[in-house]
Each structure stands twice: as C-alpha cells, then as structure tokens.
Symmetry: C2
Subunit: 373 residues, 2 copies
C-alpha cells in the first residue's frame, strides 16, 4: 500500500469527523494541494482546479517542486492560466492516493490502511473536501472553478453544495451525470482489478500486487481516453521492429499500438493504488447533478448559480461525449447563467485537454481575460 | 475442449493437406455449412454468407434444424435474402469451434485437440476454405457473396484470391484492413483470456476453464458492438431492483447496464472455445486487402473484380467505423466496379445488421432484386 505524494504538497486538515454523503465519516482526514501565484489582498483572484481520476495536485512546476506538472503548458507565468495574475490552487481529490486521505491511507482507528473499510466515496465528498481547502486558504469566493473530466463533475457538485463559493466556472470534457457506456467501461476496469487473484479482496501489498488487473484497467482507460482517428494517423498498421517481437507467439506484441498500450500501462500500474482506483471510479458512476433535484439532471444544472460559465468538449471524445458538454452549457443557461458551449475539433479524444494546448489554451485564456476586465 | 456443432450442419472436407497462408498446413480438415432454398440447374442463383467472429453456419431455421438462426429475420422464404429465389449457403469460419476445423478440433497427428499447435490462422485461410465449399457444391460462380463484420474481410479476401468466383458483393459493417483502435480492443480481449490463470497456456478443460477471462473479453466485445447512443435510451441510469443487488458491495452489480453485460457474458462464455476466439481475433488484426498489392489498401480494393457491389455501414459503429465502409465502396469504384456506399442511421452500432432489419432488410432486398432482373 503506497501513497504517491508529490514533494511540493501542502495539506489542509478536514473537519473531524468529516461526514460522507453515502454514510460514515472520516476522522483526521486531509487534502493535499499546491498553489501558484499570489493571493491578492482582497482574495479576489483565486482559481481552483479540480482534476480527473488519476492526477495529483502538481499541475505545474513551482518553487517547492520544479518538476513539470500534468498541466505544465497551461499553468504558469504568461500561460493561459496566468499565475502572474491569478492565485491558482489545485487539490488532489479526496479518495486518491496522492496526498489526500483515501483507501490507501492509514485508518486512525487501526493504524493500518483503510482498504475496503474506507466509506463509500461520492463526487459530492470530493467537492466538499475541495471547498474546505478553498475556505481554509482564506478565500470567500473563487474567481473561477475549473474542472477537467471527473473534475468537471466535482466542480458542478461544488457549485451545487456551496452556492456563492465560485463566481464563474469552466467545465472541460466534463459531464453532469454518468451515462451507461462510461459506466460499462468503468465497471469492466474495476472487474479486471477485482478478478486479479492478487487483488485479494483489497488486501494486497507492494510485493503481492494486482499488476495484471491494473494493467488491463489502464489499457482500457487509455483506449477510451484517446481516439480512433488520432491512432489511425499515429500508428496505422505499423509493426514493431523484429527485435522487439516474439515471432513464436502469435498473440504477443506485434503492432505499435499494442506496444504503446503496454508502455502506458506499465508506467501507471505501480503509481496508483488499486483500491483508490476502484473508489474514485465508482464515484463517477454514481454522479448525477440531478440528485439535488429529484433526479432531473437539467433541473440540477439550472439550479446552479454562477455569473458566467464555459463548457468545452471535443467531438472525438467517446467517454464524455460532446452532447454532455452541450447539456452542461444548456442547463446552466436555462438557469440564467451566461454560459457558452465550445466544441473543439481536437483529434485526441477525451484527454485532448492535456495535450491540445493550441486549442484549449486560447479558450481558457480568453475566458479568464474577460473575467479580469 | 468442446465444439458446438449445430444439429443441421453439413460438412465439406478440405483438400489434405490444406496449406495455411502464414505457414503450416491442415490435414483432414473440414468446413461446416448449412443451406436454404434450391440451386437452380445452371447453378446461377447461389449466395454465400460469411460471418462475423462468433456465429455458426445456422443463419436461419430449415428442415434439418427448425431452431431460429442468428439472421432469422433476414434469410428465408419471402425475407430480404429470399430463399424462394436464392440458394443460400452459410459457412462456419475455418478456425471456429462450430463445426469447422479449428484449435478445439482433434489434430489427426495426435488425436488430441490442436490447442496452440493449430497453425497461425489468417482471414485468407478462412476465405480459401469458404471458396472450397462453394466449388464442392458445384457452384462455378456465386450470384453474390455477402459478408458481415469479420465476414466483410473474408468476402474481400475471397474476391482477391478467387477472381470470378462471385458476380457481385455485399459488404456489411466490414473493413478492408484492421485499424489500431480495433486492434487495441481485440488485443485487450485476448489479454483478458491469456491472463486468466485457468487459460493455462491454452491447456484448459471444461472443468478447469478460463471463465473470468472469457467473460471480460465478451463484455468488452459487447461494449464495442453496441453504441453509447442506444444505451442512453435503453438503460440510462436505471438501477437494478434491490433484491438483485448486494448493497454491501459498492463494486457489485448496481446499474442495469452492468447486469446486461453480465448476462451477455454468461450466455457466451461456455458456448465458444477460448483458443478459437484468440485465433479468429488475431486473424482480423492481420488483415489488410492491400497485402495483395504491396500494402496499398486502396489498390488492393481496386484490383477486385465484380460487376456490382454494395457497402453498408452505420454511423454509430465504433469498431468498424463508417469511413471503412466508404473506403470499400470508393476503392471498388476506382477499379471500375459499380459500387454503392450506403450509410444507415441505425442507433445500434456495429451489430445493427443483426437487429435493425427494418433498415438492413430493404437495402439487401433491393440489391438482390436488381440482381435477379
């Protein structure tokens, strides 16, 4: 059981007990975060970033950790989220293994890792924990909350549960509720982990680790995070060089795309805790902003109050398809928000926001520039 | 090791030895087939159906087997493929476990199942075996060869390797080559089977069977055979009734879509041999009609000679996307074939041809009617 805590992390203790939406409570829990830029005296220039399933809070390099972050090209001085102007906070999701309390953390009641004794995790809990960090930093109102992928759900939940905490909102490749295709994919990822005999009901160790299951889950993730279109251009039907193939095994790695998936999976598996993966994955299935409004998703969106919002998606996203980002903008607008829907022509699929800075950068910069004026 | 042979099967012995494209040969091999209707005296009214990965040759009910077939609504008297007019032959693919020789069949050299001693299987071998059946039935030229999904590849290969054997061609949700997204999905399905400890290097039995791996592979298949759009309308976020759920397990079946996948998987796993699945799956990855023309897929298509062709696809197909059916029609047309591309608005994804008879039926009927005139 390993947590993977970036060296520049800071921590905010959550209220103890910290009640969880589906029941139970955490004691002595904490949230890891990192910051960039300076909070102005009126605390009016703060931006919160909430992340997808796997990232930590290290979105970009800073003095305490100069290594590049997962959104390095987007966050920094002069970059689209300009830290010369904005005070940027990124939090690691509650339930993760990258500094915030989650299933891999020690349960203070026993001193041993929670594992499956961790209470059910909801997106709402992740949002409440993030909101607590914001207030603990002395910020009464965020200039903007930005959420990517799962973070798009977290951000919507934060708006619903903490009215007034954010003035504006940018939702990136997000969704107001989980749809059956995405639930099916995640269900299969969880099954891959749980069927691995090394998972052992959640009771594994670094030495006896469900590596096969995690590798399968990650490969399926990567397949759905990218797009068929991009891969046609990138890999086509190119074969591995013969010295990287086992020609005796007709089912071994042969095509470049197979090797690419294998490499991605190998880099991931020992860097994320399997039980945390299960909890965060299931939290997305359960999410529907309409839970706040009797199951009516559009009504749930229309109840959210911000001045302005931007919902960005890409047409090649199969996991959070474009109509979900349109639904967010339409729903917010129905509630009186000045909300814009921005479909981008990125070929990279769901993960485009991580790599297609040429398209996502100007969109974010434009929204934030207008906000500053 | 079980083969699943429909009771109305007939068999054609293949030449012995039967050489395989990638090396090796089969001895004493056979192909299972079924027929409907009557061959006219000139043997000019024959239609061949080549199938996707998993179907047997029992496309529809007939006197020797009145149980409904996998394309029951499409094949029969007065149906779109009208057996009052056409003599219809459907073959079980070489390499399958439904009557034709494959990895689950006995190797005459040992008397034991081939398992992984079966030679590498190519789409070209499947096509050669099907062509042999056609000739063995006294048919010098088919009026039409119809191929669905993998069968679309088989049909193209048959046209390339047996010029003149078919007058016309209908390609349904097919492809002229495998693309990296589909290769990635299939690679992951094979990995799920091969990682199951019960697979045991291909040496399993009915009592010790890789059930988990096959279930995962099938679930991933079903996810990619259907469409997110259809599932939104069909399942939405509906939960199972509480008596069908284990509320103590946050990762157990909870949503209808999870239960649907589980049911599909359970019905499949004991009805298809895992090694046969691996061989047929890999044969699709390897296929490129351009192999006949130095790797140029379009040139491979342009070299095919039929009088007329129809390539049908659906816009919700993520496994064999619509541009692949367009490529087939364009490529054939470039070679002088009167080829039509027909995109259909079916919401059901890749498997639409099995269920959306309202759209596929008239398309097939129209093509075949014109042929008969």
């Amino acid at each position: 059981m390993t947590e993977f805590i970036p060296p520049g992390s800071r921590f905010v203790a959550l209220p103890s007990p910290f009640p969880m939406k589906r029941g139970g409570a955490l004691h002595g829990a904490r949230v890891a975060y990192e910051t960039w830029g300076r909070l102005d005296p009126a605390a009016g220039n703060a931006i919160l970033i909430v992340t997808g399933l796997s990232p930590d809070a290290h979105a970009a390099a800073h003095g305490d950790d100069p290594s590049p972050g997962w959104w390095e090209a987007m966050v920094g001085p002069g970059r689209p989220i300009d830290t010369d102007r904005w005070f940027v906070v990124c939090v690691n999701s509650l339930g993760s293994c990258k500094g915030s309390t989650g299933p891999a953390s020690a349960d203070p009641a026993t001193g041993a890792p929670y594992r499956l004794a961790f209470p059910d995790l909801s997106i709402e809990d992740v949002a409440d924990a993030a909101a607590h960090v914001v207030r603990a930093l002395g910020i009464a109102q965020l200039a903007c909350v930005i959420g990517n992928s799962m973070g798009g759900m977290t951000a919507l939940s934060l708006l619903a549960r903490h009215p007034g905490l954010a003035r504006t909102h940018v939702n990136i490749c997000g969704a107001a509720r989980a749809l059956p295709f995405s639930i099916a994919i995640r269900s299969l990822q969880r099954e891959a982990i749980r069927l691995d005999p090394m998972w052992n009901g959640g009771d594994y160790s670094d030495a006896a680790y469900p590596e096969s299951g995690m590798r399968m889950a990650r490969k399926l993730g990567v397949i759905t995070y990218r797009s068929a279109l991009e891969w046609d251009g990138r890999f086509g039907r190119v074969r591995l060089e013969s010295d990287r193939r086992d020609d005796e095994d007709p089912f071994g790695l042969e095509f470049e795309v197979e090797s690419y998936l294998e490499g991605h999976a190998r880099r991931f598996v020992r860097r994320f805790d399997p039980n945390c993966y299960l909890y965060l994955s299931r939290s997305m299935d359960w999410f529907d902003i309409g839970d706040h409004c009797g199951g009516d998703t559009d009504a749930g969106l229309a109840a959210l109050q911000v001045e302005r919002a931007l919902s960005i998606g890409v047409h090649t996203d199969i996991l959070f398809p474009l109509q979900q980002q349109r639904q967010i903008a339409d729903g917010l607008r129905a509630g009186g928000v000045d909300a814009q829907f921005l479909p981008l022509e990125s070929p990279q699929g769901h993960d485009a926001f991580l790599v297609d800075i040429a398209r996502f950068g100007p969109a974010l910069r434009g929204f934030l520039d207008a906000l500053a004026r």
